[in-house]
Amino acid sequence: MMTMKKFLYLFLGVDDSGLSPAELQQRMQRRIAWIQELSKAGHFHASERLEKSATTVSVKGNAKTVTDGPFAEAKDVVGGFLIVTAKDLEQAAELAKGCPIFEAGGRVEVRAIVETHA
């Protein structure tokens, strides 16, 4: 059997504000249906949604400082992530094509997760 690898999907650039209740519900149901589909096919590993508010910790001189932000532009906001298992990057990208994010004007960044065992 082909060994499966893990891939990270980052969901970018979706703005749900300004939608009507019916549209919000429809959008949600499409996302749920897509995740359930991935899960049924054995590809789903984990997923979380991310809050929009963020702080950044950085170093200035010797001190570590915490600043509000980054306040990314709408197109760069990461709304959440999902980890799938797939045989290669190509399959992971193919699976991502089914994501309803595209109907909402967003995009998915697909990254292979580095395998720690040899």
Binding site: L24, Q25, M28, Q36, R49
Partner: protein
């Protein structure tokens, strides 16, 4: 909401309907003058659900929404109470940290939400607002329709809906006595206005043809939902409300059979009556009997009785046309209109024979504003054909086709011309 509806365990229209309930409860606390703030809190709540539920829908979705809305409302009140006034009768309670949460909780009890929805409905139906504005604001606040969705359903530009809404919001901002909306001497007048709005809403959905029937049928569904809410509440529990609900039921019975699989309009005589919704007929009959408990006979009563004759007839031929003619006579006395007169003339033709129908229609064509209405010539054509006057029938159908207001009507009339 066909996609994933069943598997995800989220009821159809849940967001829209809960949005209406939550907004009403929030308006109770925040005050009608803060309607926009209430809608903002509702929107934030739904956005939160969108984020959270995609990874697992809660067991009690409606309860979850209410908890989140309640918490947001408390946050908003804490943040804004130095700058804003909320519901005048709750001001002191909301200022008290000790009473804030229980006061907000009160507004979210089921019966309080129902009361608040009724108050919103009565405020929206303020007689100073033109009926289309009343309907627009009801759809927005109580049914969760966006500007775009309303514009789509009413076949008007979004700017038209926006104008109606801004007019309505300006009016609602002046209301200080939210709770008084459903009590006091003005209730009968306001109730008549609520009925008229619901009737308009239903008719918008029922009449006219549009490629996207589903959107318009939703308007019928919303009119029925609000009317049922009204009928259950002491302020609305009067014979007229039940008559209106019965009328909606008897018409809605046919909603699924008005068009065939290709979307073409189906005449009453052609519709597959075995697909009519029996449960709705039973509901209509129950409401009509509740409507008959007083001495009142409103136009809604008569219209419901006419619709009941159609809904309960085993076939087009078995329809009790004699009763329908009599009911139209009553309706003409209570609420005369050219369309009612035409419907009566058509019923005469089926009750007494095509020659009588033709006479009645020709009499109408001379004296009313109906001459340009395509269905007058269509009915004339039907009766002429039944009398064997084929050439005149064709001429009549052709006049009707020339006056058709949209493609679906044109197609239906062309089918009549072909004799199909």
């Amino acid at each position: 909401m066909s996609e994933g509806g069943r598997e995800t365990g989220v009821a159809e229209h849940l967001f829209r309907h809960e949005a209406g309930r939550i907004t009403a409860a929030l308006v109770r606390v925040l005050g009608l003058h803060n309607l926009d703030l209430a809608e903002e809190v509702t929107q934030d709540t739904l956005l939160r659900a969108l984020e959270v539920w995609q990874l697992g829908v809660p067991d009690d979705p409606a309860g979850w929404l209410i908890r989140v809305a309640r918490n947001r409302a408390i946050d908003v009140i804490r943040r804004e109470r130095a700058f804003r006034r909320f519901a005048p009768d709750l001001t002191r309670l909301l200022e008290s940290e000790w009473m804030l949460a229980p006061t907000v909780d009160d507004a979210f009890f089921a019966h309080e939400i129902r009361d608040a929805q009724l108050c919103v409905m009565f405020c929206c139906a303020h007689p100073s607002l033109p009926p289309p504005a009343q309907v627009a604001v009801m759809l927005k606040t109580l049914c969760g329709f966006s500007v775009g969705e309303s514009a789509h359903a009413f076949l008007v530009p979004e700017t038209t809906i926006e104008k109606r809404l801004s007019r309505a919001y300006a009016e609602l901002r002046t209301h200080r006595n939210f709770l008084d909306a459903v009590t006091g001497p003005h209730v009968p007048e306001r109730l008549a206005s609520v009925h008229a709005s619901l009737y308009l809403l239903f008719n918008e959905g029922y009449h006219g043809s549009h490629p996207e029937h589903a959107v318009r049928e939703e308007l019928c569904g919303e009119a029925m939902r609000l009317c049922a809410l009204l009928a259950e509440h002491p302020a609305g529990d009067v014979p007229r409300t039940h008559a209106l609900f019965a009328l909606f039921c008897f018409h809605a019975v046919r909603l699924g059979t008005r068009t065939d699989a290709s979307g073409a309009l189906q005449l009453l005589a052609e519709q597959d009556r075995s697909r009519w919704d029996r449960a709705l007929i039973a509901r209509g009959e129950a409401s009509l009997s509740r409507a008959s408990t007083g001495n009142e006979l409103s136009a809604y009563h008569v219209e419901a009785a006419i619709a009941a004759c159609h809904a309960t007839a085993a076939s087009f031929a078995d329809t009790d046309w004699r009763s329908i003619v009599n009911l139209y006579d009553v309706l003409l006395r209570i609420r005369p209109s050219a369309v009612v007169a035409l419907n009566r003339a058509i019923a005469v033709g089926y009750a007494d024979g095509p020659a009588f129908g033709l006479d009645a229609i020709d009499a109408l064509a001379r004296e009313t504003s109906l001459a340009a209405y395509p269905f007058l010539d269509a009915a004339r054509g039907d009766f002429l054909r039944a009398l064997g006057r084929t050439a005149e029938a064709h001429a009549s159908f052709e006049r009707a086709i020339a006056r058709a207001r949209n493609d679906a009507e044109r197609e239906l009339l062309a089918r009549k011309l072909r004799g199909g």
